[in-house]
Amino acid sequence: MFKIVKKEVLNPTIVRLVVEAPYVAKKAKPGQFIILRAYQDSERLPFTIAGEDPEQGTVTIIYQIVGAGTLELNQLNEGDELSDFVGPLGRPSELEGLKHVAIVGGGAGCAIAYPLAHKLHELNADVCSIAGFRNKDLVILEKEFEEASQKFIKMSDDGTWGEQGFVTVGLENEILARQGKENQFDEVIAIGPIIMMKNVVAVAKKYNIPCIVSMNPIMIDGTGMCGCCRLLVGGKLKFACVDGPDFDGYEVDFDSAAERNTMYRDWERTKYEEGCNLLKEAK
């Protein structure tokens, strides 16, 4: 049903899949996500839609091999079929009307940030992309960002790619450079690890710039049925899968979100190691 038509390794742990899913391709909008199951009885894994081709009926996703679930997904190759693929889920990002936007992506979060940059570029917005990676070996989508942005700021923790430092440094410098000018940012969009998003929000807040973040809590159904994706936003419970995944960064309780994401940390680690060992034995 959901055939993998293309599989591309972007860096040692990040992979791009193009999947045949005509219904999803017809409806997908930037910021929405899908949930897939690799095999029957696999976990339901959520991934942001990284691109779609309604004519070909295909949808692109990018995943990072971080746990047992993605390790298992990575066993599938071009020509194989996924057991399930449902979407588009969640609310699309609100991009209309934005003129000067900073898109901040951290690590694998860049895979989610890129389609937004691309879409905004298409809408003729002035896009400044700020991407951060631990080191140059982990960089993904460099060319794509380059093409979709008026300005592309590269940051790495160890200085092997672009400037050394966190994305917050790049962002703050750029905000200062544009301060009082016509091209000052009317919005910052941040996607990446929770701690990064929290820090980006702090910078944006300092300069009074609205900041949207894209949350990725643990999910099961993705339709509002289980409530396991709930977050505290402005003191109220919100379900990321139906009310999000985008939220006003000023309102999100990042600490509680970070905590909830560690709910199954030990279990995940054991499963992942088991998975790795099985693969080694198989080889």
Partner: protein, 506 residues
Amino acid sequence: MAFNMRPTKNPMPTQAPEIRKHNFDEVAIGYTQEMAIDEAKRCLNCKNPGCVPGCPVHINIPAFIAKVAEGEFEAAYQIISESSSLPAVCGRVCPQETQCEEHCIRALQKLPKKDENGAMIKDENGKPVMVQGEAVGIGRLERFVADYHREHAAVAVPEIQKNGHKVAVLGSGPSGLACAYDLAKWGYDVTIFEALHVAGGVLMYGIPEFRLPKAIVQNEIEGLKRMGVKIMTNMVVGRVISIDELMEQEGFEACFVGTGAGLPRFLGIPGENAKGVYSANEFLTRVNLMKAYQNDSSTPIQHAHNVIVVGGGNVAMDALRTPLRLGAEHVTCVYRRSKEELPARKEEIEHAEEEGVVFDLLRNPVKILEDRTGSPSPRSPEYNPNYGNVIGMKVQKQKLGEPDASGRRRPIPVTVEEDPDAIYTIPCDCVIIAIGTSPNPLIKDTTPGIETNKHGCLIVNEENNETTKDGVFAGGDAVTGAATVILAMGAGRKAAKSIHEYIQAK
């Protein structure tokens, strides 16, 4: 035929509580043929039976029971299936004690008590000791008949004359399955659109294996497929495709919306986002649909020691009994009214008690307490892997006041002035919230012309289950809010009839 005048029901053979609380196998084992015939003979075959009007779908109860008494089990099945399309399910999960069995004449009679030899037992004054009769075990007989049919009848591939009309059914819970069944039988080309990766709705993701084996649900679904019903999973209507698109572009002449009431409510108290706090839907979905009870499952679940479940309905009973089977030592039900008001089926409450569930009644949660000792960081020497986990729940005692709108007595908080111990803490490492669900707003939000009431339930014409949108019908929990399998099934069948009339009149 001689009636059996024993006042009591044949007990249902079950797995012993000590054993069953450690496994996910079905609790009830089912009647043998002998037990079923014996029980069936307790039915008086009333001229004006009380049971039939008590049944939401008016199964001809005395007729099917008479067939059981004669040992004609397949004939009994045929009588039930005139009115019900899911007897194996309903025989297991229906609240018979408030439906058919509540009105059974045998439950209203007092009869003399007899000893093992059939001799009347008398009191010291020489008067016979009388006992309150029990209803005929209608539910147990229904279950027996359905199981007999599944195990003995040849798999039939029905010959159906197709009529060429296309109908879409949204949701594959009992309402959707029942609607699809009737429409397919009448020749319609039916497609079920289901949001999840398997069909069955709450029967698959909510009600646990030990109460309703999933193989039974899948057997019903296979039967539908044999009738030519197409089932498309992974189709969240409203996101993947809209009702308007189904009707305008995909050629469906009518739609049935049976999308249930799947949106869980939370308490809105501090600490509800702590690790170890689940909605019942999440906990049960992980265990049932995602099979977290199997050791090699790819879905994690917390194996808690000390679990509190908030709520007192069927969902709460399932949420209480499931963690026991995952190894929990203490499981406590916190409910804000008293035992009389517990909305769950009586049998489930009894089963839960037998398995060691503690009922802490007239208590209302006020706060969930979290572990804030040590550090959340694995790199810190003070690392505490349980940082942010639930460690307890603060509850407040309640007393009962006047009946409220629901007719049940309203809980009123006991103040600390009235009782210095009115607020106290129950330790726990997991909280499951089972205080109800409401319909998901997705269908309403994505379908112009569909209206809902203030609870988010779809508004329908009670005569024919048509919504406020032409050609769109609805039924089950999506219309009533969380209710029962039998009501959902009945609504699905009623809507099928209306859809049939609607299309034939076009």
